[in-house]
């Protein structure tokens, strides 16, 4: 098959297949049937991504002219990262879409939902396969637009089950409770805050480098031309985009309130698109920048140090915040932020630890994606079944909901790094990478990582036990049905076994297996010790998910350490301060310039002038034109003569 057609189908099938439901938005009959077509569109993408994976040659670049005069083209690449990530994205989106057929039944605006859901998927696929930074940015903006649409999907704010935060919980002047419309706004405003500097960074690269293709830019030369300060500024601009989209501290708030969207959206947002996009782009850039070969470039080390610690801090912050959460989805959201932090940290560690660290970050992303998507889908089913977004459900409930129960056990244990389950091998390699930083950075990264891993393991166990074993009895139980939902997450979680198999068989990951060995040089390895610690934390939290003595600390954590104040209090205060400043001092000038005097006066004057010429009398026109012609000719002659 022609590659051109493959890529066209890959990107456009989801979007095109969701157009009919948009057009039929008024007809209830059709909007009930057409979601199947939308899901089929994503299925086409799955098939195409598999075709790219199995049939197209690796590391091949495909260029299609877009605006070649300006060096802006549709450049796609089938490197290691995109081949895997493309399949991951498409498959996860497909499973979630199947689940969504059940989950979104009877919703009040299915057209809106399916269009943006499919646009979301397509945008991420563009980000994944694109080699050109400009094309990547197009997909990137698609993600932003679609996330706004989806997070604020239930825009009527009429059902408390869609809110985030406990009603009436007030801290100082703020009520820590957010409706969907506010959630959507928080997402788009945070992301735009980062996108603009990122766009400037892309523009700067466009000016400085002869090409915008990530794989072809001479990064070392580029950094040397702009010097240490230039490199740092360029990266800071770029990182603003990545950190805001991936919800790293201090930009994490939007992610927590993004849980106001439908659960399917949360699942997609957290596993394979959006937040993963930031980390993925960083991994991709690092893959081609190869910072471990650029130790001579000034300034680069500071940047990688910054990313390392922002990542680790976000990791710990997310895990701690999650430990205090009592809302199903918000707990998972906090844990996602933590995982994404570890991906950033690991990729940044490549500056000292080399290529392996990038590979670790990428594989952690893959494992996390499937595990976290499964957990989100389960929690969506639980919200339907119990009519509550808070953790609840005892063993009796768990027995009635056997499939989600088992899926949760598998997803959590496989994700937290308990030996010998899937994430353990990746985490082991991550431990080894952080250990490697001892000489250059010290022990702090390793300590932060181990702490994060232990707390993270605890919160996953907490999710399991408070939903299925030791939680309160739900007020409402509706345990029947939901076949497609079960199918969705069962399929999703089963991929974790496949990944385990891949880790053991694929060539690139044999170092992971080596890192996870029980004993090395006669002593028990660090990785194994951390694995055991994670296991103990899991068991402990399973047995005792809530410690009443620590309630105050837990509340502090569940208030997300008062970080909402940055978004909802400090930033608006700054905005108000500026607007007051403008109102008190600049307003008269601005008003005068734009609204009352200068510009309107100029417009009015010029417009009157223009119209006063048109009297309709030919003689007047001839006078004007001949006069002007003579005048200009005289000026020209005099000018030339002088």
């Amino acid at each position: 098959m022609n590659e051109w057609l493959v890529f066209l189908l890959l990107f456009l099938a989801p979007v095109v297949s969701s157009i009919p439901i948009v057009l039929a938005y008024k007809s209830k009959e059709w909007t009930e049937k057409l979601p199947y077509l939308s899901v089929f569109g994503i299925f086409v993408s799955v098939v195409m991504s598999l075709y790219v994976f199995f049939v197209l040659p690796e590391n091949q670049q495909y260029t299609y002219a877009w605006i070649p005069e300006f060096g802006i083209n549709i450049v796609l690449i089938t490197d290691y990262l995109s081949r895997y990530m493309g399949v991951i994205t498409a498959v996860i989106a497909f499973f979630i879409a199947v689940y969504g057929l059940d989950y979104m039944k009877g919703d009040y605006r299915p057209s809106w939902y399916w269009f943006f859901f499919n646009l979301f998927t397509a945008s991420m696929l563009v980000v994944v396969y694109s080699d050109n930074l400009f094309l990547l940015f197009v997909g990137w903006e698609g993600l932003g637009a679609a996330s706004w649409g989806l997070i604020g999907h239930w825009f009527r704010d009429d059902d408390n089950i869609t809110y985030v935060g406990k009603e009436g919980r007030k801290v100082g002047p703020l009520e820590l409770s957010w409706p969907p419309s506010f959630g959507g706004w928080r997402a788009i405003s945070t992301i735009r805050f980062g996108d603009v500097p990122m766009f400037l960074a892309v523009a700067a690269i466009w000016v400085l480098s002869p090409t915008l293709n990530i794989s072809e830019i001479e990064w070392g030369t580029l950094f040397e031309t702009i010097g240490a300060a230039g490199t740092i500024i360029l990266f800071l601009c770029l990182l603003m985009g990545l950190f805001t989209k991936s919800a790293q501290v201090p930009f994490s708030e939007w992610l927590m309130t993004a849980m106001t969207g439908p659960t399917t959206v949360s699942a997609l947002l957290h596993s394979a698109t959006m937040v993963a996009a930031g980390a993925f782009v960083f991994i991709k850039l690092t893959w081609y920048i190869e910072p471990w070969t650029l130790h001579g470039v000034h300034g680069l080390e500071y940047i990688y140090l910054l990313v390392l610690f922002i990542g680790l801090l976000s990791g710990l912050y997310g895990a701690l915040a999650g430990s205090g959460m009592l809302e199903r989805k918000v707990l998972l959201a906090a844990s996602t932020m933590s995982s994404i932090g570890l991906m950033f940290a690991s990729a940044a560690a490549s500056f000292w630890a080399g290529h392996l660290a990038v590979l670790v970050a990428f594989w952690y992303m893959a494992v996390h994606a499937f595990a976290k998507a499964s957990l989100f889908l389960v929690s969506g089913h639980l919200i339907h079944a119990t009519h509550s977004r808070f953790l609840s459900g005892g063993l009796e409930f768990g027995k009635k909901m056997m499939t989600p129960f088992i899926v949760t056990i598998v997803a959590t244990t496989f994700l937290v790094g308990i030996p010998p389950l899937t994430a353990y091998w990746v985490k082991s390699a991550m431990d080894e990478v952080m250990e490697h930083l001892f000489h250059e950075v010290g022990f702090l990264p390793l300590i932060l990582l181990v702490l994060t891993s232990v707390v993270y393991s605890g919160i996953m166990a907490k999710f399991l036990t408070l939903n299925f074993i030791k939680g309160e009895k739900p007020h409402h139980e509706h345990t029947e049905g939901g076949g497609l939902m079960k199918l969705g997450y069962a399929l999703m979680v089963s991929v974790l076994f496949l990944l385990l198999y891949l880790i053991f068989t694929s060539e690139e990951t044999h170092e992971f297996v080596a890192a996870g060995a029980l004993v090395k040089h006669g002593t028990i390895t660090l990785s194994f010790t951390v694995g055991i610690l994670a296991f103990l934390a899991y068991i402990f939290a399973l047995y005792k998910p809530q410690i009443s003595a620590l309630t105050k600390l837990g509340t502090f954590f569940s208030d997300r350490m008062y970080l909402p104040f940055v978004n909802d209090y400090i930033m608006p205060k700054i905005g108000f301060f500026v607007s007051h400043l403008v109102q008190d001092y600049g307003n008269r000038g601005i008003d005068g310039l734009f609204n009352t005097m200068v510009v309107p006066g100029l417009f009015g004057g010029i417009s009157r002038g223009i119209r006063s010429i048109q009297t309709g009398y030919l003689s007047r026109y001839v006078n004007i034109v001949l006069g002007l012609v003579m005048f200009i000719l005289i000026i020209a002659v005099v000018g030339a003569w002088l």
């Binding site: 005069e69 010029i606 417009s607 119209r611 030919l618 000719l633 020209a636 030339a640």
Partner: protein
């Protein structure tokens, strides 16, 4: 005589004969013009394959103009098709010759048919409009021709004063001909009082040739003085943009808005003429100018036909408005983008800033136009014409192929003098 030339002559003959006999069989004029255009297009494509995209666009504009003439029953029906056909033939031919005399003849040939067309209306002749229009066209033609010949003279016997004089005369002639402010006085009056259908032809097809000729002459005769004198053109372009956009913004009548919009658009295209000081980037300017002229032609055809038909299908009106405003991926966007890019290369940054500012000023009135002219779908000729022009406006979704074509054309622009 070579085969392509023979075909061209054949086309002219068919056009003339059909126009003559159309007094007896009215439809003959229409079919004759179409056959002539097809023949001429194939002749151009045979002799100069690199002109194929240009030819295709002109062909499309010509056919749509002819089709739109079907709406009115003029007293000279039959002959009017012949006149439009002649203009199309000349527009097709303009890139293929290197001969100054032929080029100047082409200028006159594309101008004179509009003298008659402008008077066309149902059941009579618009004499008052005709007089207004012809007065200025004659003045424009005289200035343009004297300017062109003076420039040609200085090419062989250099004289700074004469060069400046010739340059200014040529640009002034062009300005009056296409309606660049401050010499645009005839435009609002003629656009509002003439019939919309002939106006759609004058505002679309008739604008292409004068610009191409002016650019070709200016680029062939440029010398060390050009760098300083282009400032004159730039100032004229800037005045035209502001006059056009502010005039349109504060007008109510649809035809008057379109008149001022023409003034503004001609300002954008005229700005391309400053890029002759950077010949290595001139192909960007040429691409921009032609795309802008085509986008302007499409938009004017659509809007004028909508005025005549008392409204057209709403989405088509909005798409044409977006094209004028310059939203990607419509043709108007690419036109502006390439013009801006070439101006950046020519280091006319202030003109770039003014042009962007003017694009912003133009947004409200184009949207107003689209809202007021947009109605529901009806299967009539007006709507078919509007759909056709919208499709053409979307054809440069990926503009690269057109740009490549222009790159080749730009290499052979100069005239043998």
């Amino acid at each position: 005589m070579e085969l392509p030339m023979l075909i061209m002559v054949g086309a002219l003959l068919i056009l003339t004969l059909c126009s003559i006999f159309s007094f007896k069989y009215r439809d003959l004029g229409f079919y004759g013009a179409i056959v002539a255009i097809i023949l001429a297009s194939s002749s151009i494509t045979l002799s100069a394959p690199h002109l194929i995209y240009y030819t295709a666009f002109v062909f499309a504009i010509g056919i749509i103009n002819l089709a739109s003439l079907k709406v009115i029953k003029s007293v000279i029906q039959g002959v009017d098709y012949g006149l439009v056909g002649l203009m199309v033939l000349v527009t097709l031919y303009i890139f293929t010759t290197q001969n100054l005399a032929m080029i100047l003849a082409a200028f006159v040939l594309v101008s004179v048919p509009t003298y008659i067309l402008v008077m066309v209306r149902e059941g009579g002749a618009n004499v008052e409009v005709g007089i207004k229009y012809i007065t200025f066209m004659v003045l424009a033609t005289v200035l343009f021709l004297i300017g062109a010949i003076t420039l040609a003279y200085t090419k062989n016997a250099f004289n700074g004063l004469l060069y400046i004089l010739g340059y200014v005369m040529l640009v002034l002639g062009l300005s009056i001909e296409v309606g660049v402010a401050p010499l645009h006085e005839w435009v609002p009056d003629v656009f509002t009082s003439a019939d919309p259908i002939p106006m759609s032809i004058i505002a679309s097809l008739a604008k292409i040739v004068p610009f191409i000729i002016a650019l070709r002459i200016l680029i062939s005769t440029s010398n060390s003085l050009t760098v300083s004198i282009t400032l004159f053109t730039a100032v004229l372009a800037a005045i035209s943009m502001f006059t056009g956009n502010i005039g349109a913004l504060t007008s109510k009548e649809h035809a008057r808005i379109l008149a001022y919009s023409t003034v503004a658009n001609m300002g954008y295209v005229l700005a391309c003429a400053v890029v002759i000081i950077k010949p290595e980037f001139f192909y960007f300017a040429l691409t921009g100018a032609l795309l802008m002229l085509f986008a302007n032609a499409m938009g004017k055809i659509g809007f004028f036909n909508a005025i005549k038909g008392e409204g057209a299908f709403s989405p088509t009106m909005y798409l044409l408005a977006f094209s004028f405003i310059g939203l990607p991926p419509l043709m108007g966007f690419w036109g502006k983008l390439f013009i801006l890019f070439s101006l950046v290369k020519a280091e006319y940054i202030w003109l770039v800033a003014l042009m962007v500012l003017n694009s912003a000023i133009s947004i409200p009135y184009y949207l107003r136009l689209a809202r007021e002219l947009g109605v529901g779908w009806k299967a009539n000729l007006t709507n078919f014409i509007c759909v056709a022009v919208v499709i053409i406006t979307l054809i440069t979704f990926l503009p690269d192929w057109f740009f490549r074509g222009m790159e080749v054309i730009a290499q052979a622009l100069s005239i043998a003098i």
